[in-house]
C-alpha cells in the first residue's frame, strides 16, 4: 500500500502562516475549554438548584445544543482546517448533514409516537 502518493495542496508553511496558525490553535482550545466549562456549569447548576420541576429543561437543552454546534464549528473550521479550504469542498463536506436535520426531527417525533401508542395499548 502506498501511503506516500503525490499530493496537490499547500503543505509547506512560511513563518507568518506558522505563527498565525499557532495563535489560532491557542485561541481555539481556549474557546473550546471555556464553552465546555460553561456547559457543565449550567448542567450541574440546573440539576442542583432548579425549582421549576423540569418545566424549562427544554430551554437548557436548546442552549446546550447551541454550545455544541459552536464547539463543532471551531473544531471543524480551525482544527480540521475546513474554513481554509475551497468553497466547493466546504459545501461537499457540509451539505450531506442537511439530511441529519430531517432525521433528528423525524425520529424524535417517532419516539414520542411510540410512547403515546404504548399508553393507548396499556389502556386496553
Amino acid at each position: 500500500m502506498n501511503f506516500d502518493e503525490p499530493v496537490q495542496g499547500h503543505l509547506h508553511w512560511d513563518d507568518n502562516e506558522y505563527s498565525f496558525g499557532k495563535k489560532e490553535a491557542v485561541r481555539t482550545i481556549a474557546i473550546l475549554s471555556v464553552v465546555t466549562v460553561v456547559e457543565v456549569g449550567i448542567a450541574i447548576s440546573y440539576d442542583a438548584f432548579s425549582t421549576d420541576g423540569g418545566k424549562y429543561k427544554w430551554g437548557i437543552s436548546l442552549l446546550m445544543a447551541i454550545f455544541s454546534v459552536i464547539k463543532v464549528i471551531f473544531i471543524m473550521g480551525t482544527f480540521m482546517h475546513l474554513k481554509h479550504e475551497k468553497k466547493g469542498f466546504i459545501l461537499t463536506c457540509l451539505l450531506p448533514f442537511l439530511f441529519l436535520i430531517w432525521a433528528i426531527i423525524a425520529f424524535t417525533f417517532e419516539g414520542s409516537s411510540w410512547e403515546m401508542m404504548r399508553g393507548w395499548l396499556n389502556a386496553f
Binding site: F3, D4, E5, V7, Q8, G9, H10, L11, H12, W13, E17, Y18, G21, K22, A25, V26, T28, I29, L32, S33, T36, V37, E39, V40, A43, I44, D47, A48, S61, M64, A65, S68, K71, V72, I75, M76, T78, F79, M80, H81, E85, K86, G88, F89, T92, C93, P96, F97, L100, A103, I104, F107, T108, F109, E110, G111, S112, W114, E115, R118
Partner: protein, 240 residues
Amino acid sequence: MAAEATLHHGHGTENTAGHGHQDDKDLWQGGHSPFRIGYGKVMMWYFLISDTFTFASFLIAYAAERFANSAAWPKAAEVFSSIPVHAFGLDKLHAPLVFVSFMTFLLILSSYTMVRAVQEGYRMNKWGVVAFLVPTIICGIMFLGCQYLEWTHLIREGMTPTSASSLTKVILFGNLFFVITGFHGMHVLGGVVLNTWLAVSAANGRFDKVGHYEMVEKLGLYWHFVDLVWVYVFLCFYLL
C-alpha cells in the same frame, strides 16, 4: 505550460474552453484536484462524513428511545454522580459530571497537541511532529483508561447492555450507552494505534524522504473527528 498554469489556478473549465484539444485532454486525464488538496485528504474527509452518519444513526436512535421513554429516562447527574477512582476517597465524593468533564478535557487537549503536530509537519520539523504526537497518544490512552474505570464502575452498579441499575431503570439507556461510547472508544483506540505508527514513521524520517508531512494532516483529521464526535456523545448522554 499555459494550460498547466490555468489548470493550477483552479478555473480549468472556464479558462481552457475553446483553447485547443490539448487543454481539454489534460483536464479529462485526471491528476488535477478541483479542491486543491491531496487525494488522500479528500478521501479521509469522505470517510469521516460516512462515519458521522454511522454515529448520527446511533445518536438519533438514542434520541428516539429517549422520547419513547421520556418519563422513566434517567438523569445524567444522578447516573454519573461520582468519580470512579478509589484513591484519596474520590469515589465517596458527590461530584456529578466531573469525571466525564476531565475526559472531555483530555480529548480537547489532545486535539490541540495534534493540530500543533500538523503545524510542525508544515514546517518539516521532524522532532516537533514527534514531540506533539507523544502527548496526543498519552491523552488518548488516558481517555481509554478513564473509560475503563467508568464502565467497570457502572457495571458494578448493575448497569450493563442487558440490564438496568436502580438509577438507570431503563435497560435501553445502558444498552445505548455501552454501544455508543464503546464505538467511540474503538475509534479512540484506532487513533492511538495510528498515531503511534505515525510518530514512529516520523521519527524514522519516512516523511522527510517523501518531502511532505501530509500523513500527519490526514490522521490529524481523523483524531479531530474523534473529538468532534465526543462533543455529541457528551451532549446526548451527559448534558441533555
